[in-house]
């Protein structure tokens, strides 16, 4: 079976901003996106955990699979939009089977 190289972009970002990030990805033409939970973390700005009541300092992971060109576009636009926020943008290589789906 043929596989097709794609990019996986993982954006770990404060929960209140997740919808904004998804919006940017969809605007760049992503055909789908998934949101994964994160339990807690530590970083330059201190610790956080999903226990804080209002969700203001929670983080979630937005994940999108897309082609390399669109991936670069998403990466740049998301990065620009998140300048003021706690966020981590990761890119990596994956292979998919259904090329036309992404």
């Amino acid at each position: 079976m043929d596989v097709h190289p794609k990019k996986k972009i993982e954006v770990m970002v404060e929960t209140p901003i997740v919808n904004k990030v998804i919006g940017i990805m969809r605007d760049c033409g992503a055909t789908g996106v998934s949101v994964l939970p994160v339990l807690r973390g530590e970083g330059h700005t201190g610790d956080w955990s999903d226990k804080d009541l209002g969700g203001a300092i929670d983080m979630q992971m937005v994940m999108v699979i897309t082609g390399p060109r669109r991936a670069a576009q998403i990466r740049d636009q998301v990065f620009a939009a998140l300048a003021d926020y706690r966020a981590m943008i990761l890119l990596s290589d994956v292979e998919v089977i259904r090329n036309e789906h992404f």
Binding site: P16, N19, T45, G46, S49, K51, D52, L53, A56, I57
Partner: protein, 328 residues
């Protein structure tokens, strides 16, 4: 004076307050205890629904009074103005920058519904009644402070500090956050339901209320203690602000309650609302409105300093003082 201290002690020897103390202690000792966050969120919705419903039923059963309008106006004014005072205190006593000052100020103008609930329980324990509409005042006070906070952040920065590209989400976070929706929604439900129908839900929303509050405060203690471990990001002057600002707020709220002729119980509640600082609705709104502000600063201050202060020391004192002044 002895009676005064006795009253305060009596207020504390209460499973609800002691559970909070247990939570703080267990948290500070890093005990292997935690309540799943799904449960915390559910209990918080339960408490807000119960208190909103109760307020609505109370208002439905009492003749319409001018005090309702006056109390709403007083609450809105307090919520709008307290942030200016908070901002001034921070400016003259701490080195916190303007953006973070604006965010903190918004927290202190707004309210903590759990602090409010704890105060209503302490009132009930001491046999005082209060106006049923105070829960509507609480709901109203959530929001105006957020606007003052945004205005403070933008002033003199040409709007650069606040984020205008997010207006739709922000408006939702400000006017349709969980606290406002549940409090107002349940209040209206209590107001318009038939008495027989309301009666049927009492065992859930009234009888077991204090027990749920007990577990919720255990959890709040654990959460506050976890935040307290990050308290090193706060300077002593900022921590001091977290301790005197609620007293300032309580005085303003108490005077306002007295001016508009609230009952002793109502005055305690308005003082408590004004003294309390938000740690649910405002932090989320601030992430959208003033992203440059560091949420860890305002959240630690509000949740780990002011909230325990109000629950353990503040409310019993506000209550004792008002009782003494009103002679009840």
């Amino acid at each position: 004076m002895e009676g005064f201290l006795d009253i305060i002690a009596g207020n504390l020897l209460n499973p609800v307050i002691l559970a909070f103390v247990l939570g703080i202690g267990a948290g500070l000792a890093r005990a292997e205890l935690s309540i799943p966050s799904a449960i915390s969120k559910a209990m918080s919705i339960y408490l807000m629904f119960a208190i909103g419903l109760k307020g609505g039923i109370a208002v439905a059963n009492s003749p319409f009074s001018m005090s309702l309008i006056l109390a709403l106006v007083a609450g809105a004014v307090l919520s709008f103005l307290v942030p200016f005072i908070a901002n001034a205190f921070l400016q003259f006593t701490t080195r916190v920058d303007g953006t973070n000052r604006a965010a903190i100020a918004a927290h202190y103008g707004s309210i903590s519904i759990v602090t409010f609930v704890t105060a209503t329980e302490m009132l009930r324990m001491s046999g005082l009644t209060s106006e049923g509409f105070m829960v509507a005042v609480a709901a109203l006070m959530e929001t105006p402070a957020i606007m003052t906070g945004i205005w403070l952040a933008n002033r003199g920065h040409g709007g650069a500090q606040s984020n205008s590209g997010l207006s739709k989400e922000l408006v939702r976070e400000v006017f349709l956050n969980a606290s406002v929706v549940v409090l107002v929604g349940a209040f209206v439900i209590g107001l318009i339901s038939t008495p027989e129908a309301s009666q049927k839900v009492q065992p859930f929303f009234t009888d077991i209320f204090q027990g749920v509050l007990c577990i919720f405060l255990l959890d709040m203690g654990l959460i506050a203690a976890a935040r307290l471990r990050g308290v090193k990001i706060l300077s002593p002057a900022v921590i001091a602000f977290g301790l005197y600002m609620p007293v300032v707020g309580a005085v303003l709220g108490g005077v306002a309650g007295w001016l508009i002729g609230l009952s002793a119980g109502g005055t305690v509640l308005l003082a408590t609302l004004s003294a309390s600082a938000s740690y649910i609705a405002v932090p989320a709104a601030m992430r959208l409105a003033i992203p440059k502000a560091n949420p860890a600063i305002s959240l630690t201050l509000s949740l780990a300093i002011t909230f325990p202060f109000n629950v353990i020391i503040g409310i019993p004192v506000y209550l004792a003082v008002v009782r003494w002044l009103y002679g009840v």
